[in-house]
Each structure stands twice: as C-alpha cells, then as structure tokens.
Symmetry: C2
Subunit: 143 residues, 2 copies
C-alpha cells in the first residue's frame, strides 16, 4: 500500500507545501503500523532508522496529516494526544479499559446512522464522529 504517499503529496501541493525528506519519513513511519500512537512513540520509532528528524518537525507534520484526512486525533491518554489512521481504515468506536488501558475497537455504523439523523434535525454538518465508552474490560473484571 502506498496510496498515502499520493494523498499526502496532493494535499501538500494544494497548499503550496513540499514533500520533504522528513515529512516522507514521518508519513512512512506513521503508516508502517496500524496502531494508535502518540508523538513520543512515533519519535522513538523514527529514531531507530533516522537520527535526523526532530520532535518539532513531527509536531509540525501531524496537523498536516490530520488536515489531509490521513489520520485523526482519536484519544487522549495520560495527558498525551493519541492518533490513528483514518485513511484505509473503517471507522470504529473505542471501548477503553480504565484499569489496563486496553482499547477494543468496534464497528460503528449504527451509532453513526443515529448521529447523522440527530444532526440533521439540528441542521448540523458532521465532519467527524467521536464515539466510545470507558469502563472495565473482561480480564480486569475477573480478578
């Protein structure tokens, strides 16, 4: 899969920006896995291969990835923003265990349909859903 590259490239051009080496490295690393990530985790991953990408550039590139529709800020955990892919992934909701931090991802079509209807009633245009719940997972309950 290499379509993220094209999407991001087009986005950058449309904004008069350039697909530089650091931005490419960040993009590739972000899409090398399919897990949720925060800036520190991403920084550590990148640093394994490339000693020349700074935190500042990561912080600057993430909003570009978000704005281009490739990722979204999906959670806040331990005072850190966490991100996940939107490009190439079905939308889903999160069940977050408050004991162990486990995240269960679940299809969300039904809730989205309902939200869409509610939004229509209020003349509201939804751009992004945010659905989930916090609680206790099976493993943590049984002990």
């Amino acid at each position: 899969m290499g379509n993220e590259n094209r999407v991001f490239g087009k986005y950058l051009i449309s904004k008069g920006l350039k697909l530089t080496k650091p931005r490419k490295i960040i993009l590739d690393t972000v899409f090398a896995t399919h897990k949720h990530f925060n800036v520190d985790e991403l920084y550590d991953l990148i640093r394994k291969k490339h000693k020349d990408v700074s935190r500042a550039t990561i912080y600057r590139t993430i909003p570009l990835l978000v704005d281009s529709g490739l990722i979204k800020q999906s959670l806040r955990c331990l005072a850190k923003d966490h991100y996940e892919h939107t490009y190439g992934h079905d939308r889903h909701l999160h069940l977050i265990c408050e004991k162990c931090g486990k995240i269960i991802e679940v299809e969300s079509r039904e809730t989205e349909n309902i939200l869409n209807e509610l939004a229509k009633k209020h003349n509201f245009n939804i751009r992004e859903f945010n659905v989930g719940a916090k609680g206790i997972c099976k493993k943590c309950r049984n002990k």
Copy 2:
C-alpha cells in the same frame, strides 16, 4: 435544589474527608449554573465573591466532584479540560461546531443502547459513555 450538598457530603464522609469552606464554595459555584466549565472559568466565578480560594484547591476538588458522581470531564477544548454536571442532568451527546465553538446537546438513549449491546458482546463493562461529533453548525454554514 440543594441535594448536591448531601451527595458530596456523604461522599466525603465515606472517604474520611471533610466538607470544608473552600470545598463548599467550589461545590456551590459549580452548581450555580448549568453550563460546561473549565478551571479558569470556575476560578473567575469563584473569585467574584471569594478572594480566598486558590487554583490548587479547585484542581484538588474537581477529582472529588468527579469521583462522587456529581460532574464529569466531558470535553477538551483549546487544550483545556471542560466539565459538566452529571447529577441532575440527563445524559446527552455533544455536537460541537468547529467554527464558533457552539455546543448542541442531544438526548442519547439510542446510541447508549447500541453501545451497551456492543459492550456486552465484548464482555466490557461500561462506566461512562462518550458520544459526540464535530462539524459545522447551521449558522456557520450559512455564511
């Protein structure tokens, strides 16, 4: 309405804590309105009447109010946590306008039912729902 007092009082006793003057002022101010609030807004409200409640005590009291079930952290906006009443308020979801910051509150029973079912399938115990969407409100779209 003064039942928040009783609820909070019972909670504090059950934890071996005391309903002190600053805690009482914070409680009363929190329940003097029904809007979402952040710490700075709450601090300013309190300071109009009482010059002797510190930010530290507000930050220390909010987790107690949350834990006692009176309020919850419901939004994060402009890098600040925002809270709202849970006690005496029906659960609802938020449609947040990304242009003007307007928050539309909507009944949420249907989405909760669906979430409950999904949670059951995954053996997950929901403690708190978090449902909403971001987008553009009617007023902001028409201009």
